[in-house]
Amino acid sequence: MNPWIHDIDSVTVLWGQTIIYTAYCLAILSLMGWFALKLSGHDSRFVPGPRTFYLWVGFLTLLGVSLHLITYNTIPWVKDDLSGNPNVAAAFDLSIGNHAWQVPGGQLDVPCQKLVRFSVTSDDLTYGFGIFRKDNSMVTQMQVVPGHPNDLLWTFTQDGLYDIRSTEYSGPAGYRIIAKDAIAVSGCGK
């Protein structure tokens, strides 16, 4: 893995996505506005033919495939996520049931910049396991399906306290399943 990837966390990825999608939205809004204005006139010589069509097909194909190739090679958690990695620095087992978290010891001490594994089991319903910063932004998440292993590999890049929150709907009784300060990350020195 490239060393610079170690400093990429979900905030960086989301900023990248925000910039790219906003730029795209502005471009498509401008295009549609221009197109609507031009529709009532006939001052353009450009008439798309089959060649333009085939170029468009090629462009869409390239775009669709390249998105996943780019994210696979730049977003640090994807490879471990898809193929698994037994070499973890620490492993943590949690459970959830009856709309409440069971966090061993009330808090998990997680080393920074090391790959760790969270194994979460559900005693009853389908829940979600989400880790959130103090500003409510999401670090990462997974679904917690009863009767199945739910393992999440993650590398933290920032020291601090994090909350755990169920990210999946589990009935009206479970809209706020939160364990405050359930994860304490240290070791990065930042």
Binding site: S40, H42, T52, T71, Y72, G147, H148, T167
Partner: protein, 553 residues
């Protein structure tokens, strides 16, 4: 009596005369009326929930809020979109094929089963707060610590009524395409069926006969082919939802009779796979196929010319159908027990094909319009452009969240439901449907004149700005970590939610403008006249075009 009151009672210039309508015209307009009523339900519910996202309200305590959240998408999709789309297609297939509808009574049954089914589950949710959401993740629908099994059973019966009505629609579509009306010469049922599903095109593709220099004769037109292919997904969706409903009902009946069944008898992940396979046939199947077909129809009717690259358009519709059967796993990218091969293959790669199929439909429609310049910016054209814009915004947003890396931080956030789902449905789908309504209104009403162009224009702009804006602000909140399907009570995302609520209110203004315009166009007497029996024969599609008689002659 003032001019306003006269118009309110009798319609604009008294041009609408319901007694002149054929049974099929009346039935189609009845579908539209109920579709709009249920759209109003969904819009008001949506607005109430938007207010609750700004500041939780006492009246919307969690049980009621989540019951509303459960009913809202189901009323919106089944009650509104299905009725509008099914009504339009029930008229368009006979109209385009110049052939009577196979069964008028079946079409009536479809309408009333869906209307009754929707009000059943909506009322049940409102009164008893049964709230497993449309996702029904196992074993939540059978969690009797939270939900009463009787209220759950009534809810499922309501959904089942909708599905039975939908199954009858499927039957009517394919029978109408393939049957031979009494007195007609024998129709090639097999060839019609194959052509409507794209098997003919597929065969030509593999034979290398899909080239420009090869003649491409078809038995069914491109819009009918789109309807048929989307209807295949409708059928599969019915089967999966009915199967899941029966399973849940078994648990409910057992509970009611005092014999509780273990929920662990059903594997939660397997259930999630089959349920999403079926459910996704709506979002990533029939909606996209129907919308593409409707774009082609609207573009050709607006321009009066053939669709650009129509043979490829037809091929892409078939491709979209196959793609729709294999994309469900993008909903399970955050399920760690889901095999990686399914995540990458179905969840990422095949899903990316939707960028291609929908991108082709977008391009083909745009070029068809472009080649026909100069065009007058009519209401149907404006709304069609809005619909195209909606999907141009929403599909890439969906492709982004269907990425293994990005899904880890987007799944179940407001990003999914804002820039993707609501922009696709409210801007993409609904504006396309509005385009069809504005275009078909004169044909379905035998020349009723729209009351106010200004109101139509306000309708367009408020809906467009409201829909895009609401999706955008929800998306911004989602990128900051705001989840869907939950309640925030400490003002965590207040600025975004206030702005989203303002945009949501614009959508309500848009709906009000549209409804006022339609009521003033038809008049209250005219609207009531839609529910009086027509004296014309059911085989007459438009007045003076009795296809059964013409065929015999």
């Amino acid at each position: 009596m003032s001019t306003f009151t006269q118009t309110l009672l009798h319609g604009n210039q008294r041009a609408f005369k319901p007694e002149t309508l054929t049974p099929l015209q009346k039935l189609t307009l009845q579908y539209v009326v109920f579709g709009l009523v249920y759209y109003g339900f969904a819009a008001i519910e949506g607005m109430l929930m938007r207010i609750n996202q700004v500041q939780p309200q006492e009246l919307l305590f969690p049980e009621r809020y989540f019951a509303m959240l459960t009913a809202h998408p189901l009323v919106g999709i089944f009650g509104s979109s299905y009725l509008l789309v099914f009504g339009a297609f029930t008229f368009l297939i006979p109209y385009l094929m110049k052939k009577p509808l196979w069964s008028f009574r079946t079409a009536q049954a479809t309408l009333w089963l869906i209307v009754v089914g929707v009000i059943t589950f909506w009322l049940d949710g409102f009164l008893t707060h049964y709230a497993p959401l449309y996702t029904l993740y196992w074993p939540l629908p059978a969690d009797f610590k939270q939900f009463n099994p009787v209220s759950g059973a009534i809810f499922i019966v309501g959904i089942a009524l909708v599905m039975v009505g939908t199954a009858l629609f499927v039957l009517n579509v394919f029978k109408t395409i393939t049957y031979t009306p009494p007195g007609w010469t024998k129709q090639p049922a097999g060839a019609l069926f194959a052509d409507s599903l794209g098997l003919t095109t597929l065969k030509r593709f593999f034979q290398g006969k899909l080239r420009r220099d090869q003649p491409q004769d078809h038995l069914v037109s491109l819009p009918v082919a789109a309807i048929a292919r989307g209807t295949v997904d409708v059928a599969f969706n019915v089967a999966i939802i009915l199967f899941s409903g029966i399973l849940i009902l078994v648990y409910m009946i057992a509970e009611i009779s005092g014999h509780s069944l273990k929920t662990t008898l059903v594997d939660a992940l397997l259930y999630k796979n089959w349920y999403w396979w079926g459910l996704d046939l709506v979002a990533d199947g029939l909606v996209l196929v129907f919308v593409a077909g409707t774009w082609y129809l609207l573009a050709s009717l607006i321009t009066g010319s053939e669709v650009f690259m129509s043979r490829w358009a037809r091929f892409a519709l078939g491709l979209e159908l196959v793609v729709s059967w294999t994309v469900w796993s993008h909903h399970l990218l955050s399920d760690q027990a889901q095999p990686a091969i399914l995540k990458v293959g179905s969840g990422e790669m095949v899903t990316a094909f939707e960028l291609i199929t929908q991108g082709l439909a977008f391009f083909i429609t745009m070029v068809t319009l472009w080649k026909a310049r100069p065009l007058q910016m009519t209401n149907p054209l404006k709304f069609l452009l809005g619909g195209l814009l909606g999907f141009a915004l929403a599909v890439p947003a969906g492709i982004m969240q269907a990425d293994a890396g990005l899904n880890r931080i987007l799944h179940n956030t407001q990003w999914v439901i804002g820039p993707h789902v609501h922009v696709a449905i409210l801007v993409g789908l609904t504006m396309t449907l509005y385009s069809a309504v504005y275009l078909l209104l004169p044909m379905l009403t035998n020349g009723a004149k729209l009351w106010s162009e200004k109101l139509a224009s306000i309708h367009f702009w408020t809906h467009l700005v409201g829909g895009v804006g609401m999706g955008a602000f929800m998306g911004m909140a989602g990128l900051q970590g705001m989840l869907r399907r939950t309640i925030y009570s400490d003002g965590e995302y207040l600025p975004y939610m206030v702005l989203a609520a303002i945009c949501g209110s614009l959508l309500l203004v848009a709906l009000a403008c549209f409804l006022v315009n339609i009521v003033m166009t038809l008049g209250l007497n005219g609207a009531l006249g839609l529910f009086k029996r027509s004296t014309l024969p059911a085989s007459e599609i438009l007045p003076g075009t009795d296809l059964a008689t013409q065929a015999r002659d």
